[in-house]
Symmetry: C2
């Protein structure tokens, strides 16, 4: 994926891709012929191009994409989350990373060369192009799905070798893709103050205050979750992510929303956005068709004063970025909306808490059910995942899953990005570790929880590893740290116990979580990879999910979603104030998997406090819902350890 | 200082500046008049300049500078380590940070405006220049003491406002500085294999191998410690740093050394460098006067082939960097010499160990002496520091101090960059905490150690804080971490105990230490500020120095120099191997300052193991040297705690 900090943070815990499985390759000979014809077709450009780059991703830097945007998959057959295809007159090559070597080999036919990223002998895209292209070649790319910084790097490399990178406005894959799915345009859901806490009008006002503070006269929003958050709207255009395709440009006195006009006929929506009777002129929303963002932005730029500056995220598409003249462009790593969205208000926090209680109810039910059913030998990874979804769907305001459930038994658990498929589906037994990483979208909040359990007797090594992971989880969750601390400074706390025994895990420890929005959001996170993350602030919500993966044997991960809260330790150095975390996830952690001898008294106290809270809070809700078996399971599983 | 990562890492523990003391300002009216005349004098440039920038620092990015390079101090009177002066036709302004506001106010007369960096209302140098300059102005700077990246930023800002930045080849301060000290040219010391482990010839060969690996044909060395390390030579041109002024340009078949020719008459030196009879033609060193580096580099560049690339550090001076045409320039954050120098070989490690044993002998003597003398009321911060130097100077191969001793009593200890002056000198008593941070250069190694002690009865709060600092020190020193871990990932371990009680310290935890070289060296360190540090490797040597500072009351710091060593924990995940630290500093940590109740059993074991090693290793040396009182002190201070 091309959103750099996402790539850094979540590369190893991406949850969208199927596991390596036996599958037949896509036959691409005809398609490639058509694409190469399009590359020579002067309908699209003044001169033919000698190479065409097909990145993953959409025009909004989305982590998850809609079917109409799966162009790289369409052209080569490989459907992993990360990969870039390049087609020249003679060659077709696809770059992906180590997670996908096997899958890509299976999904691509022999028209394609797999470029194994991370291996020393594999050339970069730039170097490969320079090697294979005839002199003075033109390389095309759709600037809408290529980020401004990607463009700059590629263009510099090609230019220095005598070639050039050209923006091809019409996407050539779309040109050869018959039956390409339409861009989704699902019904929009309006969220009232009882869910959002702040009206979209107040969010606009706050945004403009930030713009004034930074002396900026315009702001261009391209990230879908930021636009959904700003207008207190949700859609279903992309699976798992309650967002909708749109752009927004906000000036000091004007708001322009670019969106499929067909969506605007709904009276509730018109009312919510005050389209017909704006309360104030500066809060009047002008709507434009989605496709007009570029021309309208051009018109805005043409009328800019010499000192007018426009804010745009530096990961926005090259196409939109370049519409803004450089002298008026003020690129930022995170937009003010991204920052504002990350700090949840009291209403959102309350909603997230409610969502997590409901989610815990569903998981207690699942585990109680699994305990009963597993001995029958009929439960599989897929049926367990389905059952989890079924239980969740019974909860109030359930909308859907927040990502595809990772339900994995034994060795499948060691494949970090595993997703069960019929070909890989294992049966849950009393002999193997079971890892389930799952979450849901409720109208009041988003959940993401991982539990690792054993339904028989775990081995001493499994328990030992689980306990180190638990120690790491607690070390982060219970950490006290000064205001202004960045999340990456906490990452090593999660690893210290594993490191001491020579173990580790190769993914970050935590990511931001949206409120009825994307399960992965910036700008904060907890990772050994330092990126330009923002300091943690009270009200931010992140995951705490260390793990350990023993290849070919088992996987362990322990994930709670936690809220950053103020705390008052004994002293208060320089009046900076301190922060810690409060777990929102309230699902018991299996004591059977712990080697409690390895825990310190402090750690045992933490486990007991946590379990008491699970029992009290989730127990009350289970009681209210009359879910007796799950309640019994909860009470049994939350007994104090001594 | 302009060496960015140094600035990040050591801003708060810089040891070169005096404390804020009452001093009279320098009278600068005449000087400024002369400088402004020079700014209009066409002897120096085609057109007059409207502003002149006077940075701190020399042409080699040195942390410590020679008197002839103290130009900013000369023009404005302020002698702190960090600050930039800018003089226009009407104004004179000097930017420095919060450590120096008081000192700068006292040292500068009212011709100068103090620009308090870090305050919101203080404009940046660029913004200030743009505000005060008439249209279309020229701003001059000496490109030899301005780094390439500084130039780029300043130039871009000025150009976008219609001004321009111009390189003034002759330094205008030097032009008005009568009696400017000469550039030092001290006698050079040659180091044999018994100290260096590797001949300079083998270091050149290894450098060329790296150049071949990266396809580079030339390397330009500008950092003085890298040049000293490369040629196994030491000088005394800069106080505390055993370096000498020189440049080096290494090609695949040629070595050019730019150095004061007067230094080359010493037969031992000529022999060491094989100046008269090189063993192989490619190891023949051509010497040139120091001043010719620019013209000679120009000549080399003129003869470059189209694919030839030159390595130069991106912190090198603008002047030298710009001699290399951009297409031939390959800037790097750390040079291969910096990386090679950081990983000490077996001989260097052995030397560092010996140096630390001798240094411990001197400190045991100091503490034994202090215990006897303090009750008399005659020991001051200055006399204690002098005594420490006296004891060190009695040790074999002592060369000098490695930085000015920080010897501080009570509230002075809370001034992190304190250095005792007659005006601030406090008497050591049995009522206040005493902090001494000191180190020396021996021919076999460099030391840097901080101990905090009380000669009476420390308060409960002092003990509590000391114990948190000790816990942090141990957490780093005993940490086990995988190969490939960067030092900044360990920083939070040093703070966790302080954080838990709401405390912290505002400096990094550790810096690299040279071997009979600079006490601060890159590229590795342990800091909350993440910079492009390199992973820790076995053989690297860093300091481990958490602290706590209670303003107006006391300061605590606990510093050992530690060696990165391989270790074998129970498991070995993905065969990555693990590392930990071995303390080289072997001076007892005062048990009286510890609240041992707050220590875990593991921490108590660490203290006891450490003290046993001090007793065994340093005790043997004290015995050998017949230093009986110090030995008694050591034995008493290294008793196990229970």
């Amino acid at each position: 994926m091309f959103y750099p900090f996402k790539q850094l943070e979540w590369t190893h815990i991406s949850k969208t891709e199927p596991a390596d499985t036996a599958m037949s390759p896509k036959i691409t000979g005809d398609l490639l012929r058509q694409l190469r014809q399009a590359m020579k077709n002067c309908k699209y450009f003044a001169e033919p191009i000698q190479a065409y780059i097909i990145p993953s991703g959409d025009a909004h830097q989305s982590e998850y994409i809609a079917p109409c945007d799966c162009r790289r998959e369409f052209i080569c057959g490989f459907n992993g989350s990360a990969g870039t295809a390049i087609v020249t007159e003679q060659y077709a090559a696809m770059w992906t990373d180590g997670r996908y070597f096997l899958q890509a080999t299976q999904q691509m036919d022999n028209n394609w060369t797999l470029m194994k990223m991370g291996l020393k002998e594999t050339p970069s895209q730039e170097d490969w192009l320079i090697t294979v292209l005839p002199e003075n070649s033109k390389v095309g790319v759709d600037p809408w799905i290529y980020a401004a910084d990607q463009w700059k790097n590629m263009s510099t490399a090609l230019t220095s070798a005598g070639h050039s990178l050209v923006a091809v406005q019409e996407n050539l894959i779309d040109a050869v893709w018959t039956n390409r799915p339409k861009r989704p345009s699902t019904q929009l859901r309006t969220l009232g103050l009882e869910y959002t806490g702040v009206s979209w009008q107040d969010k606009i006002t706050a945004l403009r205050a930030k713009m004034t503070e930074r002396k900026l006269s315009w702001f261009v929003a391209t990230a879908l979750d930021e636009i959904a958050w700003l207008f207190n709207l949700r859609g279903a255009d992309i699976e798992y992510n309650p967002v909708f395709f749109a752009y927004t440009v906000v000036g000091m006195n004007t708001i322009r929303l670019f969106i499929d006009p067909n969506r605007l006929s709904d009276p509730a929506l018109r009312d919510h956005l005050q389209l017909d009777s704006p309360s104030k002129p500066e809060l009047s929303i002008q709507t434009f068709p989605y496709e007009l963002v570029s021309s309208e932005l051009q018109a805005i730029c043409a009328a800019l004063g010499p000192k007018d500056k426009m804010w745009i995220c530096d990961k926005a598409s090259c196409a939109l970025t370049q519409v803004i003249p450089k002298s008026h462009r003020s690129p930022i790593p995170y937009t003010p909306l991204c920052l504002a969205k990350a700090v949840k208000n009291a209403t959102e926090i309350q909603g997230m808490k409610m969502a997590h209680i409901k989610d815990a109810v569903a998981l207690c039910e699942l585990f109680a059910w699994l305990e009963k059913e597993i001995p029958k030998g009929t439960v599989t990874e897929i049926s367990a995942a389905d059952k989890a979804e079924e239980f969740r769907s019974q909860q109030k305001d359930f909308v859907g899953l927040s990502f595809p459930t990772i339900s994995s038994v034994g060795p499948n658990g060691a494949i970090i990005h595993y997703r069960p498929l019929p070909e890989t589906n294992r049966t849950l037994t009393e002999n193997e570790v079971y890892l389930i990483d799952s979450g849901a979208q409720y109208v009041d909040g988003t959940t993401d929880v991982t539990r690792t359990v054993h339904f028989g007797t775990p081995s001493a090594f499994e328990k030992e590893c689980f306990t180190y992971v638990l120690k790491g989880h607690i070390a982060v969750s219970a950490a006290v740290f000064p205001n202004g601390t960045k999340g990456h400074l906490l990452d090593s706390f999660a690893r210290a116990a594993l490191w001491e025994s020579g173990l580790d895990y190769l993914h970050g420890t935590g990511h931001g979580v949206g409120c009825f929005l994307n399960v992965h959001e910036g700008p904060c996170g907890i990772s050994y990879k330092t990126f330009a993350d923002e300091p943690l602030e009270a009200g931010m919500i992140v995951s705490d999910e260390p793990g350990y993966y023993e290849d070919g044997s088992f996987g362990i991960r322990l994930e709670n979603v936690v809220l950053v809260v103020p705390t008052k330790p004994k002293y208060n150095y320089r009046n900076r104030g301190s922060l810690t975390f409060e777990p929102l996830t309230l699902v018991p952690i299996q004591v059977k998997m712990m080697d409690t001898e390895l825990l310190t008294q402090k750690e045992r106290d933490w486990v007991n406090d946590y379990h008491r809270k699970c029992r009290e809070v989730v127990g009350a809700e289970l009681e209210r819902q009359g879910r007796k078996e799950a309640l019994e399971w909860l009470i049994r599983e939350s007994q104090p350890i001594v």
